[in-house]
């Protein structure tokens, strides 16, 4: 039973070991995405404001 159970436990351990780096990378990507979308929204607002200003 021990011999049968060991590989499964090792696999689980490897799987858990991967969770942390993936979560860290995911957090970093999410952070970048938030700022990128925020930046694009700001650029769009600035472009529209300039267009309105030119018309008037």
């Amino acid at each position: 039973l021990q011999a049968l159970a060991r590989p499964a436990a090792a696999r689980r351990h490897r799987g858990r070991a991967l969770v942390t780096p993936i979560a860290a990378l995911g957090g970093l990507v999410l952070s970048w995405l938030i700022f990128y979308i925020g930046g694009e929204i700001l650029l769009e607002i600035a472009a529209r404001a300039e267009q309105t200003w030119r018309i008037h």
Binding site: A23, A24, G27, L28, L30, W32, F35, L43, A46, A47
Partner: protein, 531 residues
């Protein structure tokens, strides 16, 4: 070190946090600011770049990535700050840095830093779980500096800590929000007045002092205010959640009791050592009197004072308690200042009195202590410097006015309209016209036009602006004066034709320009001048 007994009130928790921060060394604050200051600066740069409509998308992506790294950097330092503060509360020593501790810190803060904006936005949008969410992320920052917790364990523990004392969580969040808004208001007022204060104290005129309204209207000004207030306030916010986490964890571990016992042992040791030292040297009556006076000033002996005139009910609101404490602190502070001044005067009186009053038998050594001469000399130098500066300031305008017009070269391409007042530009133009230099006269008249518009805040004069930009500025701000706008546009065109296009300028052109300037001034003059 925190008090051993956990107290449930949000206000008490905030007080504990203040005590913890006051006991913390400057290096602990530096840890927090090592992360928060670069992030705040990065955010301001990012905002500035994104406010320019011609910024390419690639730059936006790059700067967003740099900002994401700065968030990670800031979160890591905040976690180190929180960890150190919590070890200080428990009286525990610093932990050594290992590779595992560093990895767990960076990985957990990368994940939490990315999910926090989303989580907080959802929490604020739904309103109800906002205190839970804030407590979760702040507790995670406190636990992030520990080597023994991996990401899942850290999140489980933070979730558990955030789940305790929901009512207290609401109180903390509301109090912190109110305090932050008060601080923000103060910071904004200081930032708005700073250029004017600098101008008053140093005479330095800047773009910010000339265009105060536009400076305050700028979104960057508000963002800078928010960032500065956040840099100052965030250590306190984190300290509150450090104390909260410490008290909640202590319910299971008894850490607060252990910390209190360590303090007690230290006090006992100090008392024994102090007694041993006091036995070796005799006690002077003056020292004893001073010690008694100091002891009697502590709050434990307030019962000696007369009771207040109004009788309060037993259930006093926290606002009244805070106000009372504040007033007491101010009163104590004023009393201390008064005592210090009294002691200084007493010391001076002793030094200035004749030596014969103290000891008639000893020969006189010196009339006064050397420090009295030093203070006197410093005061004399200071007074001299002030008088010299005032006299210089009084003489300066006349000197400049006399030399100003003569020192200006109308052929200088970098000449700015705010170099001279409008009247002097006109005088210069008249002189040039008399000498037949019509081109220079036209330029002087144009600069007079700009100086008048600048003085009346229709435009903000700046070396980076073009004539076209001034024209657009007038068009935008003086919508109600279409004739004046058209005449100014005509003046700009006339000046550019002559100055850059090499068109010949005649005396008639000068007269026409002067007439348009007069009409602009009549149309756009401020109300009080028109009256």
């Amino acid at each position: 070190m925190a008090h051993p007994l956990a107290r449930a009130g949000a206000l008490d928790l905030l007080e504990e946090a203040v005590h913890a921060l006051r006991a913390a060394p400057p290096a602990t604050f530096a840890l927090h600011w090592a992360g928060s200051v670069p992030f705040a600066l990065g955010l301001l740069v990012f905002w500035n770049s994104m406010s320019q409509p011609r910024t390419p998308d690639a730059v936006c992506a790059m700067e967003a990535f740099a900002l994401a790294l700065l968030v990670l950097w800031m979160n890591c330092w905040r976690a180190v700050f929180a960890g150190r503060l919590q070890r200080q509360l428990g009286g525990r020593p610093e932990l050594p840095w290992t590779r595992l501790r560093l990895w767990r810190l960076v990985s957990s803060q990368a994940f939490l830093g990315g999910t926090k904006p989303v989580g907080m936005a959802l929490a604020v949008g739904v309103i109800l779980p906002a205190p839970w969410m804030a407590a979760f992320y702040r507790s995670a920052a406190v636990l992030g500096d520990r080597e023994d917790l991996d990401l899942s364990q850290l999140m489980a523990k933070a979730r558990k800590l955030a789940g305790f004392e929901q009512r207290q969580g609401w109180g903390i969040l509301l109090l912190l929000t109110v305090l932050y808004l008060i601080l923000l208001l103060n910071v904004l007022i200081v930032l708005a007045l700073l250029p004017q204060v600098v101008r008053i104290l140093t005479g330095y005129e800047s773009v910010f002092t000339r265009g105060m309204k536009y400076y305050v209207d700028s979104p960057l000004f508000w963002l800078a205010g928010v960032a500065v207030a956040w840099i100052g306030f965030d250590p306190f916010t984190q300290a509150v959640y450090c104390v909260r986490g410490f008290q909640l964890e202590s319910r299971e571990t008894g850490e607060d009791l252990r910390a209190a016992l360590r303090t007690l042992a230290l006090i006992v040791l100090v008392v024994f050592v102090g007694q041993a030292q006091s036995l070796q040297r005799p006690l002077r009556p003056q020292d004893l009197d001073q010690s008694i006076r100091q002891t009697l000033q502590s709050p434990e002996y307030d019962w000696r004072l007369a009771p207040p005139a109004t009788k309060r009910s037993g259930n006093v609101s926290w606002l009244v308690t805070v106000t009372d404490r504040l007033m007491d602190s101010i009163e104590r502070g004023l009393r201390s200042i008064g005592d210090a001044i009294g002691r200084l005067l007493e010391w001076l009186r002793e030094k200035l009195s004749s030596p014969s009053m103290h000891d008639t038998t000893a020969p006189p050594t010196a009339a006064l202590h050397w420090s009295v001469y030093a203070i006197g000399a410093a005061l004399a130098v200071l007074a001299g410097a002030i008088v010299w500066r005032l006299r210089r300031a009084k003489n300066k305008p006349a000197h400049i006015m006399a030399a100003g017009a003569a020192a200006v070269s109308l052929h200088d391409e970098h000449l700015l309209a705010d170099r001279l007042p409008e009247e002097e530009w006109i005088a210069l133009a008249e002189r040039c016209a008399r000498e037949g230099e019509y081109r220079a006269a036209l330029r002087a008249l144009y600069l007079a036009n700009l100086a008048w518009l600048g003085r009346n805040e229709w435009i903000a004069i700046h070396s980076g602006k073009t004539n076209r930009e001034y024209e657009l500025e007038v068009r935008r701000r003086a919508r109600e004066f279409p004739d004046a706008r058209a005449m100014f546009a005509e003046n700009v065109a006339g000046f550019e034709r002559a100055w850059y296009g090499q068109h010949p300028v005649t005396a008639g052109d000068i007269d026409a320009f002067r007439e348009r300037l007069r009409q602009i001034k009549t149309a756009m003059a401020p109300a009080e001048m028109a009256a």
